[in-house]
Symmetry: C3
Subunit: 680 residues, 3 copies
């Protein structure tokens, strides 16, 4: 029913187990009356189906689903594995997760289990089988959510089962200890393994620092474990679900290849979007980032890279917080609409609010839903009704896709390497942040483009320019792919520290930038983090000045390549900072530093890809501009994240979908205001 490309649908998260059964029917009716057509249920309700080991009782949800069917509500049903029952963990403590010291995590939070415990996998498979076989045939059920927020709460696992499974994972990957020793560089610090039993997942070390190649494999292993756990359930559900019903889970979290998980186990991704975190007490104070809630468009762009059209399983509708941490205010009038439209602008055709009513018990009593603790009508409910009204008018854009000509290449090996390697991580964080901000401020839509096993040159060919800032790890296959892209006319912009590691995370002994040397026509003569007493470093690029950041590589141009920019400060003054290399029909740039916002803006402008909609709409910096397109129709989203009204100029006439009127010229957006214009 949802994501069918025919209309935009609203949903909500609902917890029948939190409320007296006597409240159910009125809740269902009020939700439907509000425009909420779908609810998600049961993701933390194992006990309601298997109250004791091996004893199954379907009556609770049967009663609820009966009523849903009577009232006409559709349901996404969940597997309950994110919170195992107390009877389970008390009897099988091996199902629990542990910290790196081996100390177990217990009940009270979530995900206090590990993915590799044989007994937990067995019991999880059984509850999934029981649930799916019983509930999947219900007419009201339209799809399934597996677990809840996989790898949320933690993306580190150190139980005994994980140590054992890691060993098996490595045996399958490397075959022999010699291969493992080679890949992990165990000759360093005398870490050579002579028996498989000596191999463990990371354990406690001084300054919490262990072999980085082991850690890289360990992150891969966590991803493997989580994927395997999801697939275990997905395979079972697939046996029972009705034709047309979907399987999904709600992300995105760390140490997890979401692309591969989706490809092998899901129909599409759903995302849980909480932009109000940006205004929480903990984050706001120390946060100099001007993007605030607008940063969630980064996350939505990630989701788009997995599923071009996707769902929001949890969209923020109130103040958020636990009793013990996180305190964010209530959304101001208009913000629920703003964040809903932000989701839709990036490709969401289904938006489900978290949650119908605020829970009165447990850790999340401050994680507010649409309603507060009481059933009293309120401002947020009124706003959701208004959103529903708006979405009726937007239905035509369902199934349309976000448009971008600029891509930012990403891949999991480098994401994980940047987490374990602070030199890599510092560059990555800086450049990604700068890139996003520059793209937003210049209204340059972009896509994240993940390099996967099966990525083809054709997938890349759609982008005029691709950035790949600090791909420390680079494989021959990836290098070839990039070469093909440039040969065919693409523009590739590499940043410093490209290609200095192999797939194991070991540094290559080649001259740098290693596998990118030929494509970029570049040799790195010297390199250094910018010293803390250097001050600002600038690069002169044919007369334009770009502020560098974090790192400096002194670059030499190969024959045929051109030194397009040089440093202006410190001992590397005059050394090459940017190399331009024609390659086939395209051009490769190698940039010797990390990105600042101004540097990215300069690249976008010089490479001719900045502000592609400038001829259509002049929007102020406070607004995000996004465009979805389907069947030749273009839908412009204008999202004002500021508390002040702003004005845009529409240079071509279009239809304001909220009002149905044709508009052009001045367009006013109120505080947190939004507009969706279908270009005519």
């Amino acid at each position: 029913m949802i994501l069918k490309g025919d209309r935009l649908i609203l949903g909500a998260c609902y917890y029948p187990e939190h409320w007296p059964e006597s409240m159910w029917r009125e809740d269902l009716r009020r939700m439907l009356d509000t425009g909420i057509e779908v609810i998600r249920i049961a993701e933390f309700a194992w006990n309601k189906i298997e109250p004791r080991e091996g004893v199954f009782d379907y009556s609770f949800f049967d009663r609820f689903l009966d009523m849903a069917e009577e009232e006409g509500m559709k349901v996404i049903f969940c597997t309950p594995t994110a919170t195992p029952p107390a009877w389970l963990t008390e009897k099988y403590p091996e199902a629990l997760n542990a910290d790196i010291d081996g100390t177990l995590f217990y009940h009270g939070a979530r995900r206090h289990y590990n993915y590799n415990s044989p007994i937990y996998r067995e019991l999880s498979a059984r509850i999934t089988e029981k649930s799916a076989s019983h509930y999947a045939p219900r007419p009201c059920v339209i799809g399934w959510q597996i677990d809840n927020e996989v790898n949320c709460e933690t993306d580190f696992f150190y139980s005994e089962s994980d140590h054992n499974a890691f060993r098996v994972f490595l045996q399958e990957k490397y075959g022999t200890l010699d291969e493992l020793n080679r890949a992990w560089g165990t000759a360093f610090w005398n870490q050579t393994y002579t028996d498989w039993q000596e191999v463990h997942a990371p354990r406690k070390t001084y300054t919490n620092s262990t072999n980085p190649h082991e850690v890289l494999d360990y992150y891969r292993f966590i991803s493997h474990s989580a994927r395997s756990f999801v697939k275990l359930q997905s395979d079972i559900i697939a046996k029972y679900k009705k034709p047309g019903d979907f399987i999904t889970t709600n992300g995105l979290f760390g140490h997890l290849d979401n692309h591969r998980m989706t490809a092998e186990s899901l129909d599409f991704m759903t995302y849980d979007s909480y932009p109000n975190f940006a205004y929480s007490q903990e984050l706001y104070a120390g946060d100099s980032d001007v993007m605030k809630d607008r940063k969630w468009s980064r996350n939505l762009s990630e989701v788009r890279s997995i599923s071009p059209v996707f769902g929001i399983m949890e969209q923020q509708s109130g103040a958020n917080g636990w009793n013990s941490r996180m305190e964010a205010p209530s959304p101001r009038p208009g913000q629920i609409t703003l964040w809903t439209m932000q989701s839709i602008a990036h490709g969401a055709d289904y938006v489900s609010y978290f949650r119908w009513r605020t829970c009165t018990m447990g850790t999340e009593i401050y994680w507010h839903g649409i309603l507060d603790y009481s059933s009293r009508e309120n401002r947020r409910l009124r706003e959701v009704r208004d959103i529903h009204r708006k979405l009726q008018a937007l239905g035509g854009l369902a199934g349309s896709r976000y448009q971008a000509r600029v891509g930012m290449i990403r891949d999991y090996d480098n994401i994980w390497d940047a987490q374990l390697d602070i030199w890599h991580g510092r560059l990555e964080r800086q450049s990604q942040k700068a890139f996003f901000e520059a793209a937003q401020l210049t209204h340059t839509p972009f896509d994240y483009v993940y390099l996967r096993e099966d990525t083809t040159p054709e997938e890349l060919a759609g982008y005029t320019v691709l950035f790949y800032p600090h791909a420390a790890i680079l494989t021959e296959k990836q290098a070839k792919l990039l070469e093909r892209y440039v040969e065919n006319g693409g523009i590739l912009v590499a940043g410093c520290r490209n290609g200095y590691k192999n797939i194991d995370g070991q540094c290559v002994r080649d001259e740098l930038p290693g596998l990118l040397s030929g494509l970029t026509g570049t040799a790195v003569a010297e390199y250094t983090p910018i010293a803390p007493d250097t001050g600002a470093v600038f690069i002169n690029w044919d007369g334009d000045r770009l502020p560098a950041s974090e790192y400096v590589e002194e670059l030499e141009a190969a024959p045929g390549a051109r030194t397009a920019g040089v440093y202006e400060q410190d001992y590397y003054q005059g050394s090459g900072a940017l190399i331009e290399n024609r390659f086939g029909k395209g051009t490769a740039y190698y940039y010797g530093s990390a990105y600042t916002v101004d540097a990215v803006k300069t690249f976008l402008k010089k490479l001719g890809v900045a502000s592609p909609w400038a001829g259509v709409v002049q929007a102020p910096q406070e607004c995000e501009l996004a465009v979805r397109e389907k069947d030749g129709r273009q839908y412009l989203f204008l999202l004002n994240y500021s508390p002040k009204a702003v004005g845009a100029q529409l240079l071509r006439p279009g239809k304001n979908l909220y009002t149905g009127e044709t508009v052009s010229g001045s367009l006013e957006l109120g505080p947190y205001g939004t507009a969706v214009i279908e270009l005519t």
Copy 2:
């Protein structure tokens, strides 16, 4: 002998076990010569009585008490259970306390035991029985201290014995697991218990966050455990103590219902007062609080609420610190007097200095007593002699009581809930701090008024105004009590977030403020923490402007009630911020935010209770004003906490008790100076 209402008495803490016996007699004589009539001994001396398990040897303290009796010194004897012997914890590690991970705490500090270990309770009872039966008959012994600073060092206990005792505590409280599951809201996150063995005290969880209702019961359980441990000893001592001898312990520490402990086990409370902490390296730097050492009057007000006339078991007399933490300077000339008078102003009739001489060994070598390591005469000893001289002249006020017409209501359930719930805690900390500071600066004496099981309307009736700022948890009984108070003419000022939780700490589904709705004539339409980008929020109360803080509730007045104040900022501009409701002969106010100092000042002024002594004395802000009263005689205390001399104006003549002279008009207080005036 002490707290008999006849005179003020000085004491000191003394450690015979720290010094060669050859020093004892001279020490006793010098103390008596200084005016110190009572000493406290033996609180860390288990080994001196039971050097090996089951072997008792009374000779050490017998020799000391013989000498005390010869010299005429009175003695408070302690049970030694705050530091179990090494032989005990080595043989019975189950007596040790553990952290939340289960890791044991060992010797080296104090309270490394738990209250629930059966063997530790048995051995504690035996050493108490042995000590009491042997030493209680001694003529010099005038009273007993149980343990030392109960719940100091830690107020968290996670030993195996605690897990077991918590289970028993819950079985007695709830009877059935169904009741427990209901009270703890275990339907949330699938925490339902199906067997009592699954129930534990909090254990390690992600982000150290477990079920808040469980934590609330856990804090109640800690209080229960500590009280039970004190009562175990108190019951034994009661069998042996001489008539007229007292039982006490020295507080105040966390997770402990001191009121109930005192009622069931003690004759009165004593307090350990260390105002110089305010000038320690650790606290001073980051502390923007202008109250500094004056804050200790908050603690003394707490003690007063337990025992209107009380003792100070440890009054700071030197620099303080451990070898490993805490560094505070020596009291400046006058400060020992100031802090002693601060204690007496609030109701202390006995003040015992910590300690006669600074210890030369162990962790507390920088916790200075009156003397330094040597026996050399010094400035602090001279000051104590002068204090003794002053107290002779103040003797007439012994037994008098602190006077206040304003009360701040407190109760343990909300205190503990504010510790586990950061939303609640933030409000509570802010408002309590503001209230204390405003009361101090306006010279408005106040009492803390604890709501207990047996609190009567009559107890409340003595107060013109009662504040109860953020009573999240509110029971019907308490609501009725408050209604009775207002009906009878009282003025109640509630703050935001009142009444939104039940006794289990679960949120109520009623419209807010729940049980206070009727009394306050208020409905809460919307609420939100003040967003971090909002800036200052003001409330207009009939033309007066009050700065709000932390939280905003949009209030609606019920029929008959009046919207007395509205917000001036953000989207809630113009919404109700203060409701005034006539109720019986009194008035209830519901205030939609947390308090600032200026807000409290406005309330005190508008409600006519600010500065009740303004017609008697005009004191500068630097001074605390306190009044004790007995048999119609009033004693004014003026305490200057500043390093500069200040002047007050006495508008009615009185007797300066330090000099015996009648004074009026200008009264000069030197740096850290004090004066006690008996009004005539």
Copy 3:
């Protein structure tokens, strides 16, 4: 070959196990070509000799040493005990170290073992015996390094073996528990031991604070354990090494009496010098210390106090960092030379760079050597070649010794006490920092003078002035030694808090400054840390104003002594701050506070020892001035730590050893520039 007093020699650290054997020969030739004559190898290569327990295979290093001998490279061979093999710790987990909670540390870092495990000592002795007996006869081997950086990574050990060995250490030290109880002051907080099994190394306590006297003994025990482990190996190597070959290890790290270790086990100390840490991301930001990389001269002065002529086993030659922490930039042009000359100025006759080539795998991929990952020629290699050229010209100063007339007395008991006692530590850190900075800025060379068991008055007599700022622990023997020094004409400057503790770290009951009272003619009447609200405190010393710091003692002059300075602030205004006491032919000063830079400068000037070379060279503050002397020849080192060129004035002609030219008058030092002048 090295440290023979005939020439200055360059070396490098090399890791044959990191590189294909096919690279070895070219590396050896290039190193020799660069001027590197010695390499250190094998410190983390246990597996290369004993790949399985009891299986020894010498072939790997035999092949390498064969090649070294063919090419003419000399070798320092290491014992590999700093990183035990995985097979060892997997089979014998008792060899692992633990944290204070008892949780074991595992593979992944270094020194994850303890010095006291019987099996680890046995296996360490065996690998040492095997290595030494096999490799020592090799002609290319010229010396041995034991382990690597003893007590680096951690200087705390809490394994079961450590608890047991600590008990034995204490039994040997104290004989009886009564003596232990007395020394540890266990009467405090009831810590009396009645059975040796109750005695443990420190374990987990609240606020991580245990008996300070126990901790003092525990630090002594760690030093004892490390020394014993080094001696175990040293004794074995001594049996096998060729005559003239040396034994050393590379330091300095904590909880280790390096002087005693060197005396009993080594021929001389080597040091690992990484001044670029000062420019690391972690340290630079929060570091207000103006000394930056110049601070490493403090460390080098420490090394000189152990071995007047010494080696640098690891001299920084590139950017540094782990993948998980520490990020420092590449040395700027000239800095490798600067830091090499800094080492030599202080007495290094051998300088070995860390390392030939940057490792491509493991934790230290960012700990750069001379070459980067590739073998590409680079700027740093060119600089090392230039250093080699310079050293050829400096060879004549080999064997010369650093010259100083001012001494700073130190001793391990006080160093360790200052670590466990924050009151002591705060003073010590402040005064040592101020002293070093003042000495550097005034170009006043100084020595650290360690008081050891066998220190003689003659050793002290060489110094005009000795500072001993805060010797909390003072023994009669030390007091006598100081008296002898002053009697004979020396000037002793004591700082506050001298002599208030005995050898156990217990405070003395004597009047302060205890054993120094007579020598200094001083009595301490009162004392206090300077209160945080006092503001700046000044001392007036016969008209000169010195800023005090941290602490104030109010001093009284004994008959014959003179109050030379008084405080100007707070309640101690006018009290004695500095006592001057003629004693024999010399003078003792007792100074009642901690040192500031300006205070030290005043002392140096007033006591006539500031800037002893002012008549020879006028150097700017940015430069360090050091002088080495041999056979009447004096070598002036001028080291410019700043990024700007500076000018010095040579007032006497000398020979610029870099150029061979005679110079006088203006002498320009470029950015990071250095000069070595042989005075004529």
